[in-house]
Structures are given as structure tokens and as C-alpha cells.
Point group: C3
Chain length 251, copies 3
Amino acid sequence: MVLESKIENDIKYLYFNDKASLNAISSGDWKSLKSEIESFEKSDQKYLVIKHINGNYSAGAQLGENINSLMEDVSNAAETLWNCKKPVISLVNGIAAGAGSNMMLLSDFIIATPETRFIEVFVRRGLVVDFGGSWVLPRIIGIQKAKSLMMTSNEINGTELNNLGVLHKLCSFEDMDKEFESLIESLNKQSFISICMIKQQIREGLDKTFSESLDLETENQNKRFLHSDAAEGMSAFLEKRPPVYKNTLDE
Amino acid sequence: MVLESKIENDIKYLYFNDKASLNAISSGDWKSLKSEIESFEKSDQKYLVIKHINGNYSAGAQLGENINSLMEDVSNAAETLWNCKKPVISLVNGIAAGAGSNMMLLSDFIIATPETRFIEVFVRRGLVVDFGGSWVLPRIIGIQKAKSLMMTSNEINGTELNNLGVLHKLCSFEDMDKEFESLIESLNKQSFISICMIKQQIREGLDKTFSESLDLETENQNKRFLHSDAAEGMSAFLEKRPPVYKNTLDE
Amino acid sequence: MVLESKIENDIKYLYFNDKASLNAISSGDWKSLKSEIESFEKSDQKYLVIKHINGNYSAGAQLGENINSLMEDVSNAAETLWNCKKPVISLVNGIAAGAGSNMMLLSDFIIATPETRFIEVFVRRGLVVDFGGSWVLPRIIGIQKAKSLMMTSNEINGTELNNLGVLHKLCSFEDMDKEFESLIESLNKQSFISICMIKQQIREGLDKTFSESLDLETENQNKRFLHSDAAEGMSAFLEKRPPVYKNTLDE
């Protein structure tokens, strides 16, 4: 078990802390990951951050362990992460491989260094892409680039990830904390319930038709009109001052 | 009510003309927008153009107005625009924000200046993305870039829109009329019914499986084989001359 | 009939060899194409390569021929190509137009020269996009760029294709054989059954919800755990040596 968590103010951090294995994820960690996300969902914390440690993000699943029912745990963790209602941020440096590469892709915001090493490593090991990667990568970078990366296991770095449109921000290792704070500061200025409902609309919209997606937008917007954040947003706009939002998830 | 329309030859122009509000759209305009599109559909005009005026495209929905049933009108207008059978072109300069930003995205061709200011502004106002934006933007620029723009309300300019693959053409304000004429000239050389059926195939294909989409292509192509435009296309090809198409929508 | 095939080692090559027509595909070729792909599927060959000849890839369907039931044959060939379980590679130079442009897009890997001339030519001929192009192109380059190319028939070259994220590799005509060999060498190092199952996951995942796609990943990965390639992958990893895979398609 290598998963560690830390809470600072309204942010929950997760790390796969195992230097020797480049932060490989042990078979027992998948259930922990799921329950860490679930406890975050129920908490007052606003942001979930999966962060590099020891110079790496994560090398993915530890090989060579007991695999009884492992895949069910892996996929349950992926589904819980993807369906997380609140923003998920990945801070990436060094190795992001296998399930580690796809955990990164299921995040809402990815900040990474040029030294990031992204590898969909599965074909090298006689395995298939998991943790949702075969669904999500073509919807981020298009079918052709996704096939290239997943069917060859070619490694790309942070600069290439940025050129493919994967990153929220590419920055040096030295600047990462600053860029992360800047993102949090920017998100904190917005209505938190709006951010979370838009995340829901994007996520569910990917599995909906245009018309169904429009229905969800309509339903969510009508709920907004009854919420104090929308009233505050309108007042602030008319009074030309920054809004002060509740920053809670009560709808 | 700020929506104005103008017809020149076979082109219908729409403007949200309200300089003081940067062309914000009033609550009464949504029904007008829908009926303007519907009358365009039934007319002999070939192209619908939503154009900047007073230095801006549109700031989106006017805040502070009566919102009774507003969202139904907004979403009905979005659905009518998206389902428009004939080509829709947006000529964009200055502010394209909120519903204005998404109206632009529902167009088939976007020509914009570097001075364009694209803002998915909803989270700043305690609202959620509407007018189809949460469905369409991830399918234009990928999930990650769509989340970045919609969950932070970060502003980007025309050059950045172009780098993300959103634009048909980036050009200076001075060159916009020329670029627009060049697009119309290029479209006028093609079979108009072909253009419209391909638009249908792309639109419906996004909600279909590969196999279902292939069925629609087959059905449409078989209709083409019976149409005079296909005969003219073949003759022109064999005679090495430009084709002269009917440019009507009779199937 | 212009379709020719050649088998070298574990690679099957297809060419549309008709210099005068820039390798246009005759009405009888569609059924041949389908049966060539089907015999490849049943064979021991690992890679299907559709290759330029006479300086061009393919100008698409021959115009001016008997079209009785033609579209059914075209779409059956497209469906068979898209569903091909093993990797499909296109080596492209010169003209890739009409059904030729879309045949290229249904390949898993596209290697092309800067002199490639990609044209979704249908609107020029009074026809509609076929061979799956209206479904696949928006999922490779996004809705807006796909509409631009398909609704105007604008021609783009290999460099532009590469900038749009369509290519596995852009290279000079002189380097193409070397780049192709390098791709095959890279694929040969991986588990072949893994490559093919990942191709299946990507293809089917495009028509599935996130959750359904995760189920397929889980099912496929559990099959991997029972296969000798996964055991060999793990041993090789632990022993820090290159793996030696079976390279067969037995599951």
C-alpha cells in the first residue's frame, strides 16, 4: 500500500509514494483510491489533487502481484474518479505510465513539466489499456494520435503533451507550485456550484446526443436562476464589483 | 429586442445590434432568433451569416431581465441553429461571450480576427454553460481544453482560437470582408445540395455509431446518383470544365 | 479492376494500380477490397498496408461507371476495413481524394509525404462524403476543421495533415520505406494480441459510454492475465530483458 493523502485548507492531496518502484500502485491501493475519492466527495474540501512525489507521478499498476479481482478494483477506482463531482487536478512530473498515464487523463486540469514521461505502456507488457484510457484519449487528442500512442507505447514528454492539447499548463518544475496556486486562485473567483455543474454537463454530454445535452443545460440553468450565486453574480455584474460566492455544493 | 436582419442576394445577415451592452441578447430576442432561422430555412437564401457589429460579435444573454421561461427559448434557438440545413457562417470580432461564444461554435464556418475575445463566461456569473456549448466544445478542441475554458472562464483571443482548430480562417479586420467573399465564392462552385447533405451527415454522425453513419452516407449517395447535380458533376469532370450546378435544395 | 495485392513475410500490401486515372477505384474493386481484407483477417499475416503507387495513393471512386448497387459495395468495404482486427497502415503520397481520402482515414497509422494532396472532393462532383469519412474525420480533427474540409473540398497537403494531428509520421518520399520499417519494428516488439485488443477497445469505445468502455477494458484485461504474453511481459520486466511474445491472435 503506497497511497498517501494530506489535507490542507480546502484541498485534498493524493500521492503514490514508493520511490523504488517509481510510485507503482499496489493491488491494495485501488480500493483505497476509491474510498479516498468518496470521502473527498462527502467532505468540505473543494479540490482533489493527484501529485508527483520523489520526482515521478506514477508508474501505474505494480506488476507481479496477486491479481485476484484486481481489475474490478482498478475499474471501480477509474469510474469513481471520472464521476467525481468536484474538480480534480493532476500535478505531473517524471513518469506517468500505464494506469498512471490514464489517471492523469481523467483529471479536469493537468499541469505538467517538460520532463514528464507519458507512456501508454500496456502493449509492452502483454496487457491492454485500462483505467478508462481507451475511451478518454481519443476524445482528447483525436483517434489517430490516440492509436499511435496506445498501439506502439511510444513515450512522449510534457512539451509534446502540451502540443497535443492535453495540458492546462506546461511549466518548469520550479514554477509548478506557482501555476497550481494561480489555477486555484482563478477557480476560487468563480461560483463553485457552477464549476461542478459544468463539469457534470461536459462529462454527461460526451455520452449524450446534442438534444439530450441541451436538456441537461436547460435543467441546470433553471436551477441556477433560483440559487443565490446567480443573484450575486448578477448584482456584482451590475455593480461592477467582484462577486462573493457561497462556494458550497448545495444546489 | 436587439436582433436585426438584412438580406443581400442569397445571403441573410443577423446582428445583435446594441452597442451599449456589447450586443447583449435580450430575453425577447431568443424567439426572434429562432423564427429568423426558420424563415431562412424556408427561403431561397443560401447562407446565414451572424456578423459582428459595433466592434463586437455578442456578449451573450442580457443579465437582469425577466427570466420566465427564458431557458426554453434559449435552448430552442440553439437547437434550431444547430439543425439548420443550410450553411451558417459567423464573422467574429471583439467580444464573443456566454451564449454568444456558443452561438459562434454552432456555426459551420467561423472567420475571426486576432482581436476576438472568446469567453465561456458562465462560471463568473453563477450560471452554467448553455446554448449547446457543453456538448459542442469538447468535440471541437478535445475534453481537456474544453474543461479549461469552461471551468475557469479564461479569455482567449482569435489567434488562440485558431491554434485550437476552431476557425475556418483567422484574418485581420480589414481582410474579413474579402475572406468572407472568398468563402462564399468557393462554396458557390460546389453542389449546394451536396454541401447541405454533408452538413447533415456530420451533424447526425456525431450522434450515431460508425455503422449507422455509413447507412446514412449510403442512403444520401444513392439519392445523389439520381440527381442532376451528380450527372452534371460527372459530365464536367469528363469534359474537364467547371460544373454548373442547380444550387437548389430539391433532393 | 485495378486492385493488386502482394504478400511479403507477414505483411500484405494493397495497391490501386491505374496510372492513367491516378489510381481511381473501379466499380468491381469494392468487392475485391472487401474480400482481400477478409482473407488477410484469416491469414497469418500481421499487417495490412495500403500503399501509394505511380506517385499517388488513390483518386477515389472511378466516375462514369455503372453504379448499380455500387454504394452497398463501397460501404461494405468501408465497414470491413474499419472492423479489421489487425493493424492497418496507409503509406500515402500524391493524390488521396474522395473515397481514397477516407480509406486513408480508416487506417490505424498514416505515414505521408509533404507532397500528399488530401481532398474530400465530393461536393465538387455533386456527391456526398462516403466510405465512413463523415463519421471519422470530426473524431480525428474536430468538428470545425472537418466541416471546412468536407463542405468546401479545399485541398490540403501532408504538412497540413500533420499539423491537424492526422498522421503517425510526416516524412520525405525518400524516407518513407525507412519510416515504415521503423514502425513495423516498433510494433513487432509489442504483444500482437495486445495491439489488436487495444485497437478493438478504441474502435468500440467510440460507440460506447465511458462506463461500457470500462467494462470492455476489464473483460479484455482479465483475458490478458490468463495469456502467456502477460506472463512473459511480467517476467521480462522483472528480469530487465526484452520480452519475447508469441505474436499470434489466439486469445
